[in-house]
Amino acid sequence: MSFLMQADAQIVFAFWVGVCVSVASLLMLSAVLVLRQIAQRRERNHLRAAAFWRQVLSAATQAAPASVPALPWRDMAGFVDVWNELHDAPERADSPGMRAVAERVGLAPKLERMLRRSSFHDKVMAIIAMGYLRSQTSFEQLAGLIDDASPIISISAARALMRIDAVRAVQQVVPQIVARHDWVDGGIAQMLDEAGPRVVEKELGAAALRANDDVAPRLVRFLAAVSPEEAAPVIGKILAEPHDEHLVSTCLQVMQNPADLDKARALLAHPRWHVRMHAAAAIGRLGTADDAPALAPLLADAQWWVRYRTAQALQQLFGSDDARLQQLRDSHQDRFARDILTQVMAERALEEST
């Protein structure tokens, strides 16, 4: 080590960098190995707990158990996983036997403790489990999480609240759907679907009419999925007024009421191609063969998708009468129109050959 006393500063610096990083590398390798051992032990414990409680809870779905073993804290994660998994299977949801097990192991206070103290993943699993447990005592605690910064925690809390008391929760959840752009649409749709149309349609319809054009398309989509009847007047009202083309497109996509067809017909000449496309598709879905002449010019549209959806719409309007489509193709002067009709007819032939 005497060279360190005589060498240049650069060399000494390089040497100590080498020493430090080598020690750091060895420490990190040790950390990797230790973490591996910890993870393996945790995984083993989790699997054991999950297997044990799966047996207990599965048996409970058949008949209420005479006795239930104690639920130690180290088994909580495994128990909650199985609890949520079994509730996900609709045929097992809300079995009295499972509720009896939950009561005897004292699940509600344990979940509240898990919610306060656990890792992110376990916290989310606890929120979901509370929703399945449907304990009114958890409502206030979960309501406090609905505006959590994490979209996962907040939407999970919203779903749990809707499960516990949908009528009470919908007042808080719908404004959050409007406000939270980070809530994933799939999660919202599932939550609304679980709650059912009766509970959410009024609140959602009112929110869709109040919302600005940026937010309204999402709400219209949710509303149409949950309750087409309640969506129809909302869609009619939106299409009757000038609105953002994205909102208009959305309304055309989810439109189910033939009474709104006139509004769709008027949009076949819209300057934006996606509006023309969705108008053509809506007419194909809800119109009659009399609409064919109005659609025919769109077969020569500059946009491929407008031509394609129009050809499909015409096929829907003509039903199984392929001769009319063929006649239309042969009479059309535009090459692109003929090509797209050929494709759509070939697609049907391909489907029918299977």
């Binding site: 080498g18 990797v32 993870a39 994933v184 749709a189």
Partner: protein, 489 residues
Amino acid sequence: MMTAGISPELTSALILMQWGFLAYFICINVVYLALNFIAMFAILRHAREHGASFRVKNFASYQPPVSILVPAHNEERTILTTVRSLLRLGYPNFEIVVVNDGSTDNTLQAVVNGFGLVEFPEAYRSRLHTEPVKRIFASPHNGRVRVVDKHNGGKADALNAGINTARFPLFCVVDADCILQEDSLARVVQPFLEDASMIATGGVIRIVNGCKVQDGLLSEVDLPNKVLPLVQTVEYLRAFLFGRLGWSPINALLIISGAFGVFYKERVIAAGGYKSDLVGEDMEMVVRLHNRMREEKRPYKIAFVPDPICWTEVPSDLRSFYNQRVRWQQGLAESLFGNWRLMFRRNGGMVGWVAYPFMLLFECLGPLVEVFGYAAVIVLGLVGMLSVQAFFAFLFAAVGLGILLSVNAMLLEEISFHLYPRPSQQLKLFLVAVLENFGYRQMTSLFRVIGMVRWLVTLRRRSSWGHVRRSADWQDHEPQVAASGPAAP
């Protein structure tokens, strides 16, 4: 450094050079350590928020449809396995467009027979210019699969033809020799669901050599037995787990691997599609998208998904490895120099002010500095002007930092995905992390310098297929449909 017997001017120049090397050495390692730091947070956050097992179910009904583009040129050996594995993806709505780019083997026949395809009169949209398309095939039995048969034009041209054929707003590029996991597509599409301004995402590429594949899906993860793929395993861990993840949270990701990435189709078309006169068309596309979006002052995001989602075979022979690295370096140089306006752009953000200059200075020109350093050491050693003390001290530091970065990548892997569960695998990786500094690193730098030279010599030529010789021994022996055999249902 010994300075006896040489002129003061030369001594001053050598001292200046030393300081230059030292400054370069410190800068590159400081940036790497900073990237490690960012990656550590990003991966912990990702693992925390995406690890929750309930999530995937929530999104199924709202996942957008995706067109999977599989450009193929002479991929007869693996194309069926690839398409079959893609068909098993757990994703609600997708189509697979195989683009046969003038293969001279039985690639087309293999797919046509394998899926019972028939010629189909599709009204093809020529939104991006490509070499002529000969025919399009569709399947009466499996509506998801279509094949575009076209004249040879290179991978970029094949991708452009695939984009023209794609029906859906997002397209995913998958190399014909890649294996995806069941949830791969869902994971790489996830950022598009979470952020409306997302225009491209890329996933982690892992090495399939040594693993086992069953029914087109990965069934067992293991390390390769051969040295060259094994070293690349550590290299890939490093490259993906901090090399790319470090840039993603600051929206400065410049590379999405051509083997697996998802793009918003209209943005790619607006940018003019893939350039067929480049060898690194995949990276160039990402750099161009950054450049274009910033030019148009549009809000956008390009993200990296760290879950292990795409498995590919890496070269196990030196010739293929050499070709691959030369090609990568050419691609890097093309992408950076072809989009130089991105650097220090007024609204360039982290990508224009940090990532681009870093890539140019350290990733693109770095191998030149490194090889120059090796040459200087050899020359100085030969003329007796090398300080042995200095040499070993700097070697110790450089190797130590190299190992530290590799071990840190191992740690990131352990705290997030732990794909290699046995301690013996960790020790093997550590050993490789040490050994790669003696020979492999120098060899790679040399290949990359050759790539730079080739880039300078062959500026602007049509992209060709950068094929790697593949053993494909990870494939299971499922009955392959003979290329000329009867059509399967």
